[in-house]
Subunit: 595 residues, 2 copies
Amino acid sequence: MAQYQAPLRDMRFVLYELLDAGRALAELPGCEEATPDLVGAVLEEAGRIAEEVLFPLNRSGDEEGCRLEDGQVSTPRGFREAYRLFCEGGWPGIGADPDYGGQGLPTLVEFQVHEMWSAANVAFSLYPVLTAGAYRAIRAHADEALRRRFLPPMVEGRWSGTMCLTEAHCGTDLGLLRTRAVPAGDGGYRITGTKIFITGGDQDLTENIVHLVLARLPDAPEGVRGISLFLVPKRKVREDGSLGEANGVSPGAIEHKMGIRGAATCVMNFDDAEGYLVGPPNKGLACMFTMMNLERLAIGMQGLGLGEVAYQSAAAYARERLQGRFMGGPRDPDRPADPIVVHPDVRRMLLTARAYNEGNRALCAWAALAIDQAERHPDPAVREAADDLVALLTPIIKAFVSDCGFEVCNLGLQVFGGHGYIREHGMEQLVRDARIAQIYEGTNGIQALDLVRRKLFLHDGRLPGRFFAPVEAFVREAHGRAGMGEFVVPLEDALRRLRAVTAWLQEEGPQRPEELGAAATDYLRMFGLTALAYLWARAAAVALERLDGPERPFYEGKLAVARFYMQRLLPQVHALEAAVRAGGATLMALPDEAF
Amino acid sequence: MAQYQAPLRDMRFVLYELLDAGRALAELPGCEEATPDLVGAVLEEAGRIAEEVLFPLNRSGDEEGCRLEDGQVSTPRGFREAYRLFCEGGWPGIGADPDYGGQGLPTLVEFQVHEMWSAANVAFSLYPVLTAGAYRAIRAHADEALRRRFLPPMVEGRWSGTMCLTEAHCGTDLGLLRTRAVPAGDGGYRITGTKIFITGGDQDLTENIVHLVLARLPDAPEGVRGISLFLVPKRKVREDGSLGEANGVSPGAIEHKMGIRGAATCVMNFDDAEGYLVGPPNKGLACMFTMMNLERLAIGMQGLGLGEVAYQSAAAYARERLQGRFMGGPRDPDRPADPIVVHPDVRRMLLTARAYNEGNRALCAWAALAIDQAERHPDPAVREAADDLVALLTPIIKAFVSDCGFEVCNLGLQVFGGHGYIREHGMEQLVRDARIAQIYEGTNGIQALDLVRRKLFLHDGRLPGRFFAPVEAFVREAHGRAGMGEFVVPLEDALRRLRAVTAWLQEEGPQRPEELGAAATDYLRMFGLTALAYLWARAAAVALERLDGPERPFYEGKLAVARFYMQRLLPQVHALEAAVRAGGATLMALPDEAF
């Protein structure tokens, strides 16, 4: 059976041993209260909710799915009660500004918590994570009156948020969208159009739903420069914040999906619905990106969370399932067979899962801490550097971590053998749930294009240096430390290759944009693998220093997984480098009609 | 929407241009009638059945699934009628011996046909493919009286076959199995026990079901040396072949699975059921392997078939879906956007699919032709060489081709973006259906162990040479041919690496078996990739010779995909070689309890 315990020990390792988050957060105004003790207590309580409230509803939610009846969506049995508990605990607002009723905890903490929600019940987690993203966009771009009216109930969880971009004929290419907004004469707007794939577009968890909708004003220029952002509530909201009558917003259908079946994915009809402009006219896409960027990182956390459940479940199964004998001779001759964890190929799968999960946990936390620094650090140079790093890492985390998550879930299923394919064991649900993360909020191919076409060239190409500089500093310093050679040498090799390819893309890209497209996916994976090599080498450095303490097995485990990563997974960069260097001609030669 | 047209042109290319099957089959007694004309007509008719009869039932079969009511399994609506047509066409017996009513077509043809059934409706295809496997085991190991009694109705499709190995506590490790057989005194046996995961264990398509069951005789030695094979019909069969009363065989439950939901996967209870010994006592596992080896190859074909549907569907979608502009400037300025097939990253996905599909089609056909040669060639040395090659390639085809199939189905889904995740488009079903192929009939990890522990050492280690010799001969010969350098050089590099790793494993394995286990999966993939490099280089050689003919675009396509394969996919062998060379210590260091 799938099983889950919140990985609190590894989170502490990442936050306080690897990233020195105690010191880093203490430097940030507004984060002073997020001491290790407080954060520890928050994570422990979140872990309890994840394990005891959300995880038990995961499989039943998948079996039951959502229903649309009489224009109202129902979530699976148990979701309403769980959501009520969730709100009572104050979880919807943990990262929100205290000015609007939030708890003001750092993004670093919010991300750890989000990993746990995703692991325990990714379908459930989508409702609050979209609310958190909508909160961010409204807070950043709406005027203060709108913020006062809409944010406090969202922070409480009484109202939820959604993100309405996609239309049937356009997902990636938003320049084509047709939803219209016309001024109503009272300062407001009337929105008309149909959006598809709207997660939480309707549900029975909250009193109201705040849709953030991309639409065109009557005089808008064509394409992406003519898109504006509107706040469109399900029920109208009076100026005093009380609920009014129904707005012209209704779910037209819900989708039957491969997974995340407890999350209602709706076709949403906006029919002359009252809405409010958020941000300047025709700047809607940029405003929406405040939400989108958070969601992209959250999706990385989904891959990570599901990968964690897959690993834990597979490891437990592998320790218990008796089948075959260890090749070097029976390990447990008194039993009819050895547990399958003795078999090298089973270990290969489990170690792959661990290497990706723990490496990606560090990668996501590194980015989360950089978000906190970018928002709060007193030194503008530090803020700028952190902001650059977040911009660089966002597509990598969204795509690389979700790819790893899918791979790890499949490895977990594989460890279960035939039992993994049977629904009741819960492993195949992880695979189905993880699959969407590679697609939504911009497919992973789009993330790769964002990395190579945009992020490599932003601010005169300075972003990659925000990654290379700390890695190089670490390599230089670590070379001299006893026992670090086996970690630093492969890291340095991967870094050298990544730098060379990066320089080549930055050089060639402006003249030959299709070369960027041809390199994108393989380059992004190369970047992700190198980032993990850096974080595993740092983890090894920490572990080497603490081997003689009371937690020796924990640190020996880190060293073993770090070695496995360097020797068996990192060599992928060689193949990826070759693929990137092969260039665009390998892709473009075949005429379109030959496909 | 998922769509499928039988890939008859590529099958002709593989059979008659790449493998010269016309000449090869003409040499084989009993295959003289399988002329290119006859085979072409058979494949065309099979393609029609696949497209028009089986494919339309694929999604409805998945949605509806199978039911167990009152001890009887019902297959999805339409399956009975389709099966009737299938039998009327003589398809169940196309590869069977004319002595038992079969059409005696070569295995090479049977495999092409099976690819089409798998593509169109893999759940449906499992019923006849298991019958074909059971036919082979009975024909090879049962006495003539049993054969006369049971084979003709199986060849007609009136009766089906199953394969009953797994029990709840043992799948891979059959030495643990507990099902018992006791002599009944009349020359027959009584079988008692419970088997799980029995595909087609019950259904409503056939008059009777012939179960092949592994069980232990009362005096049997422990472990795999004490397993015997029994034929246990659902309904008893009188000596004249007429149906008698119900036997003690009943489905206890059907599984709810991730995919192949139109195939009934049953828990089967045998309760003092009458059965017949097949083959010698205690040699049941070896006899069952006659069936298992065929099923393993058939599973490779499943991955291939599903990958073909995924490719065709994704290619059609990519040519139609308008989204974004080509990076080198708009391709179609009069339309609102370009079709997504212009984007390099979409092409990367489509070309990956094609390179694996077409390469694997050639690989599977090569093995199928070798089966025909092993069974029929007049020269015993040719028979032996062919038999060795089949033994070597069987685990590679089962694992590598099913892994590629799953990857390709996921790429196909990805090309559809969010629409791929929605059930109605049919792409996510391909992913779910393809996933089982990596698990059943021995997980792909078990295939890899079969390759490194058994096949590398069989007959004093001569098997790998059956692959290396023709590849080396080809390389030597092709080096001198104009235009072949870009294909032969990477092939030669991969071959050199594979040979070196093979020699290392053959040298080290006997002393350090856990090294074999540690290398297994990565080594198998390295082997599969190198085999495809060989077949793509051969395809390129054929294409170069025929470029000036009327089908120039077809051959240009072959060259473009061959180049893509060599430059962008084959470099994986570098990473795999590094992983294999890293050795077992990277996997074995962590203590069992640390997982």
